[in-house]
Amino acid sequence: MAAPHLRLTAVPAAFPLLAALAAAGCATAPPAPVVEPGGAPVEEASAPSRPSPEGAAPAPRGPVLALLDEARAAERAGDLEGAAASVERALRIAPRDAVLWHRLARIRLAQGRWRQAESLARRSLALAPRARALAARNWRLIARARRARGDAAGAREAERRAAALEGATG
């Protein structure tokens, strides 16, 4: 008995937000200068257009974007935990959105919670392994978290993976 359906649904379809953010970037105010030393703001990441899994309604964008705005405002005001709360609220709405997990990872990194930062970035990677730009950012973030923890070899490995992805992106 074949399982074509399952295979189809196994294709990542978890980030309608990437496209939404790219679109929103033009329409609204320029993205906040949340400086991520790993590179440009993640919102610019491009989304591969893959079908969404059969039967799954696409994750709603409006509320997620609104909550990301809230998170950004909180972050700018220095309230990192408030920012995390907003991102978590968004994750309850769109739990498979790789960008949201990455966003949370960035907040944890800024808080110096290295292990959580890495784990969250890995979860982001697992949800969108083929979104190269986002994957590269996740590896950069992991590299920083590892270096901060004193794992130099692990950091180099993560950087190598990031560089490979960035090279391929061009």
Binding site: M1, A2, A3, P4, H5, L6, R7, T9, A10, V11, P12, A13, A14, P53, E54, G55, A56, A57, P58, A59, P60, G62, P63, L65, A66, L67, E70, A74, E81, G82, A84, A85, S86, E88, R89, L91, R92, I93, P95, R96, L104, R115, Q116, S119, L120, R122, R123, A126, L127, A128, P129, R130
Partner: protein, 775 residues
């Protein structure tokens, strides 16, 4: 003595004079002493007043809230669900929804005027929003006055409290929050001179005395609000003259130190206004919710009059037990208010025609004992029991009342149906359900037994039972981590197996149907929950490796690495089992189960937050393979029966049945994309129930998920990098092609798919044709 007497006798007049002086001195001294004593007494009362009133912090129960309902375009919440939530919150239908706490049904639309609410991340202002629905979902939000609104968060429902030991309950209000009308009415009825007197009102006393004399009995008290407050705060209820004096002095002192507003606010929060079983209802804030199901700010004149009337005798005038008395009292208050010019006569007359407006006695806020148990235990790591019971903390939890209701219903009805169908003694079967959000690990529902209101033994948290085949995914995770040796297509012998044990015994596992099938591919061994192949694989990979996987999945108990562990000689609670399966649902990320999101102080200041945490613990590729096999459990294995309840194919449901020796425990653990649930059925005395996992727990699970169907998303795991797919001939475990009937497509860790072709494969078209004829 003798000498003194002699002196006196000798003393004569001089002695008498001296005696008078002595008496004067004694009197003087006594007077001074008495004054000093009085002053000391007053000073002592003063000290008590200042320290106790100043530092007066009521012991406030902690309030526990459900998750807030979030409405946004696309939210899987239908109109009925929103209406149910609004009713739970005590919102009432009023055309146009003019005030906070009201809503209006306008055709297919719902207009809601929300209440202000302080959340962890700030205050949600009152909003007036029209919600559109379509197809069981929110189709759009339109705030009054135009503009856009992406997200509407309703206030969360109060689901329980942690009470102080004396069981006094109150909802503190600030004076600004209290309707002016209520204050005026209270003053007019209880203490007309309040704004003028200094704590004691001689005119009121005179009036009362006059009334008593005329009636020849004690019919009227002249107590001011201040005196009543003093009595409640500092003194007992005995009615002696001395106590009256103390009360008067303390009332004067209280007025000396504090403003009228402070005294009034304390009174409004202190006054006793009713009883709810062991729970004493104090203060107008709580009384308003207790009698009318709404906050104080939303009370109208007849309700205010009723509450003010209650002050005189909350049990005598109890509007639920003695509605007639309560009504007479209310109408008397209304007449009094009109007489004293607080309200107009017409207004009072209109109010007197209104019904009492009392809601049925609210459930005793003990609806979710099992869930509250979980909250309490998780908070106990950081909070002292004492503080939970007295500091008025505001606890925001993850409970979803809709999911909880579905879980309770599924368990109660499922158990009853099973008892009927199987001829089990009625009431013998017990069970527990845990439902988690499959992405974040938030606990959405916890049911501790078939009677969900019973706050006794909480089986979801405390029934530690052998999990049976629920453990099998751990065995296969351990094995598949060696792709060079095991893949989902690897054939395993289903032949009799005997393992000598250290203690001299022999372990000889058997399949549930007592049959042996010869070689079976690994995925089928899991799908059919075959014990013997699983034991073989587990022994080959090593029991310690399986124990290691269980740890990674999140099992924290001490696990003894005996062979029997491979077939489920591991005892877990339903909650623990859910936590372990969550790691499978997340693709290998252990995520702590949380019941609490945040805790705020009574004043609304954030105290602690319980953030979402996650940890990569397993190779995502291996989890992907096992999740695929778990989907096959549901599509073609032991959990086929779920199709009766759900479109399992579309939802990609993954799950596993579990059964223990002699059918004592019946388990099912499984997940859709966004919901994970574990069901356990069994008996409290651990006697056999005659139900396998599929015959018992699965049925409850199916009912539960069917109840949640509109909100479920499909489980469609993202394929990790390093996976390849291949068609396999299950008979040989080798690569198949179109020539093989009954071939299956399976995922493999890249490079591990079999290269060798099955005999049925690889032959050119026409020959294949022939071949099939001859087979």
């Amino acid at each position: 003595m003798a000498r003194g007497r002699g002196r006196r006798r000798r003393g004569g007049r001089r002695g008498a004079r001296r005696r008078a002086g002595w008496r004067r001195r004694v009197a003087l001294r006594a007077g001074v002493l008495a004054l000093l004593a009085l002053a000391a007494w007053v000073a002592w009362l003063d000290l008590r007043i200042r320290t106790e009133f100043e530092g007066r912090r009521w012991e406030l129960p902690a309030s526990v809230y459900a998750r807030p309902l979030e409405l946004y375009e696309g939210a899987a919440v239908g109109r009925e669900a929103v209406l149910g939530e609004l009713r739970r919150l005590g919102y009432r239908p009023v055309p146009g929804a003019p005030r906070p706490g009201t809503y209006a049904l306008e055709g297919a639309r719902l207009r809601i005027h929300t209440r202000r609410f302080r959340f962890w991340d700030g205050e949600e202002p009152p909003r007036r929003v029209t919600v559109r629905f379509a197809g069981g979902r929110v189709a759009g939000l339109a705030p009054a006055g135009g503009g856009a609104l992406a997200l509407l968060r309703l206030e969360p429902a109060l689901i329980g409290k942690f009470y102080p030991r004396h069981r006094e309950d109150r909802v503190l209000v600030r004076l600004e929050q209290v309707p002016r009308l209520l204050v005026d009415a209270l003053v007019a009825v209880e203490d007309r001179g309040f704004w003028r007197h200094h704590g004691v009102d001689p005119r009121a006393i005179a009036r009362a005395l006059w009334a008593d004399i005329r009636a020849g009995a004690l019919v009227q008290g002249g107590s001011t609000l201040t005196q009543q407050l003093v009595k409640n705060f500092f003194l007992g209820s005995e009615r002696t003259l001395r106590r009256k004096a103390t009360e008067a002095v303390m009332a004067l002192l209280l007025e000396l130190h504090y403003s009228k507003e402070e005294i009034l606010e304390a009174y409004l929060n202190e006054v006793y206004l009713g009883q709810d079983g062991p729970r004493a209802i104090h203060g107008f804030g709580l009384a308003s919710r207790f009698y009318f199901g709404r906050p104080l700010e939303e009370l109208d004149l007849p309700r205010i009059a009723l509450l003010v009337g209650l002050v005189k005798g909350p049990s005598y005038y109890d509007p639920r037990r003695h509605p007639r008395r309560a009504r007479e009292r209310r109408d008397l208050v209304l007449r009094l208010l009109a007489e004293r010019g607080v309200v107009g006569r017409a207004e009072a007359a209109r109010a007197a025609r209104a019904p009492l407006g009392v809601v049925p006695r609210p459930p005793a806020l003990a609806e979710y004992p099992a869930f509250m148990d979980l909250v309490r235990r998780q908070l106990a790591r950081e909070y002292r029991e004492e503080d939970l019971r007295s500091q008025g903390l505001r606890i925001f939890t993850t409970l979803d009342p809709l999911v909880q209701a579905a879980a309770e219903r599924a368990l109660a009805r499922g158990i009853a149906a099973l008892e009927r169908a199987r001829g089990l003694p009625r009431g013998s079967l017990q069970g527990a359900v845990v439902v988690l959000d499959a992405g974040t690990g938030e606990a959405l529902a916890v049911v501790g037994g078939r009677d969900p209101r019973y706050a006794g033994f909480d089986r979801a948290l405390d029934a530690r039972r052998p999990v049976g085949s629920l453990v099998k995914p751990a065995v296969y995770l351990a094995a598949l981590a060696h792709p060079e040796r095991w893949t989902l297509a690897t054939l395993v012998e289903d032949e009799p197996l005997e393992v000598p044990l250290d203690d001299g015994g022999v372990w000889a596992p058997r399949n549930h149907d007592e049959r042996f099938r010869g070689p079976v591919p690994l995925y089928r061994a899991l799908a059919e929950s075959l014990n013997v192949p699983t034991a073989r694989v587990g022994l080959a990979v090593g029991v310690p490796a399986v124990v290691d996987v269980l740890r990674r999945l999140g099992v924290r108990r001490t696990l003894r690495p005996y062979p029997a562990l491979l077939l489920g000689a591991v005892s877990l609670t339903p909650l623990e089992a859910a936590g372990a399966y969550l790691t499978l649902a997340t693709g290998g990320f252990r995520t702590p189960v949380r019941a609490t999101r945040a805790v705020l102080t009574a004043e609304g200041e954030p105290l602690s937050r319980y953030p979402l945490e996650t940890e990569a613990v397993l190779d995502p590729r291996i989890v992907f393979l096992v999740d695929h096999a778990l989907q096959r459990v549901v599509r073609e294995g032991t959990a086929r029966g779920l199709a009766r309840y759900l479109p399992v194919e579309r939802l990609g449901i993954a799950g596993k049945t579990g059964t223990t020796d002699e059918l004592r425990d019946s388990w099912f653990a499984g997940f859709a994309g966004n919901r994970l649930a574990v069901v356990w059925l069994g008996r409290d005395d651990n006697a056999p129930v005659g139900l396998s996992g599929a015959a018992g727990a699965l049925q409850v699970w199916g009912r539960l998920m069917a109840g949640l169907l509109p909100t479920l998303t499909p489980f469609a795991p993202v394929e990790p990098e390093g996976i390849e797919w291949a068609h396999i001939d299950p008979a040989t475990g080798l690569r198949a092609d179109g020539g093989c009937a009954g071939s299956v497509e399976l995922p493999f860790v890249a490079g591990s798919a079999p290269a060798e072709r099955a005999p049925c494969a690889g032959t050119p078209g026409p020959l294949r044709w022939l071949r099939r004829i001859f087979d």
